[in-house]
Subunit: 245 residues, 2 copies
Amino acid sequence: MTENQSCLITRLSHYIELDDVAESLILSLEEEEEEYNKHCDIRPAGSSTKRLFVVKKGWLYSYIDLLDGRRQVVKIHHPGDIIGFPDIALEGAATTLRSAEDVCLCPFPQSKLDRIFTQSPRLTALLFSLAVRDQVMLIDMIKALGRMSAREKLAYLLLSLGSSMRVTNKYYSNKFRMPLSQSEIGDAVGLTNVYVSRTLNSLESDGYIRREGGFIELLRFDDLCGIVDFNDRYSRFDTSWFPQH
Amino acid sequence: MTENQSCLITRLSHYIELDDVAESLILSLEEEEEEYNKHCDIRPAGSSTKRLFVVKKGWLYSYIDLLDGRRQVVKIHHPGDIIGFPDIALEGAATTLRSAEDVCLCPFPQSKLDRIFTQSPRLTALLFSLAVRDQVMLIDMIKALGRMSAREKLAYLLLSLGSSMRVTNKYYSNKFRMPLSQSEIGDAVGLTNVYVSRTLNSLESDGYIRREGGFIELLRFDDLCGIVDFNDRYSRFDTSWFPQH
DNA sequence: CGGGTCGTTGACCGTGATCAAGTAACGTGG
DNA sequence: CCACGTTACTTGATCACGGTCAACGACCCG
């Protein structure tokens, strides 16, 4: 992998082999790269859905505000993620995209998706599958928000963050940097920052996790999985049914 | 529309005009029709994802159970909906599909999706858009589950059911049959059946809704929308960017 | 220094869960 | 026709999980 290789190609070739047609299609999407400081609202809710993004560096999240200021974080984005599929059939984005730390994004225009649909069924199937896998992870989140206790919700969030770390780094997925504040964590799992603090302390004193210097380590991984019946949606991604070209 | 016309064609031609290629692709998917009694688990979680379904008659829902028996209803399916996209990249279904009443389904095999991807980019774009619109509705549900009060959650659920009624019947969408029990409603919005009962009574005595003979009528529609900042995801579905063929 | 954000801890409170009892509607088989 | 079981809904009493409000310390950066 060369230094200036497309981030999209790097990411997508994890899943399938890309032929020349697919590669050139992807390259045609990427002519830009943008940097943002932390805590920037990069694409506000209601704004145009004509640009999608590939995350090159840093964490971001998508959130919605209620009328009275309550906030719900809907999805946390990591390097390699594609941001923007849920909104493509909408006139305005449903969520606001915000950087959790300093980030680098590769934006690409939605208008060119139709060329992919037309010229590469196999790449189309991949994009489709990535979009619906996100959907399954939203379903898992719904289960957590609707029916889990505070302790279970946080265990669930940490496990799902750990599993997304594992995609790019197999060996250190149980210890990762956590750039989200406890208020942001609370907005993700439907708790207050105060109760997040209490519950994380409780998890730590029970030996489930360790926090240190902005990192979180999952100490009793299997016990945590058992508590919340965790399914890793990144492992076992079925590409066998894709068209050949 | 003839009586024995494909339910998929009926549904999809709502959104775009289907050419001969697209029509024959759709017809090739549909060679079956199945009936189920109410309260049947039709496709259990973990089972094969090789069949998808179009709902021809009746309400169903997809749910997940936690280890201790708590249950979360993830999505309520109505006539015309396509069921199964979220699971296509998974080895086993993430949710159990259950009939809320007597239903009729048109199952079709996943294996034939690749022919659509290969032969009709325009139809592919439509399926993609339908899948991601469901994703946006899950995002709305996450907002409700994470940050709304019981009263708001129920108002939200009723509004979203009303808006899905509006797709097929513009004029009676504010009064619709409600085949879900209060326990099932509770499983959908993360409340107990007891508190659903109390809250619906409260909404009724405040004049927001009326219940009568298994029907629910939304009396103060605009007030309800204001309470929860409701967005109708069925209106304004953008197909303008689709490939031509 | 000063000002900001962030995490922690304590006291108190309220929403919604839990447990329980009671009613109504329904279908079943005698 | 009634006796019976089941399921759904309601209502009351009590409880606890997590919210709210407030104060304080640690840390960072200007």
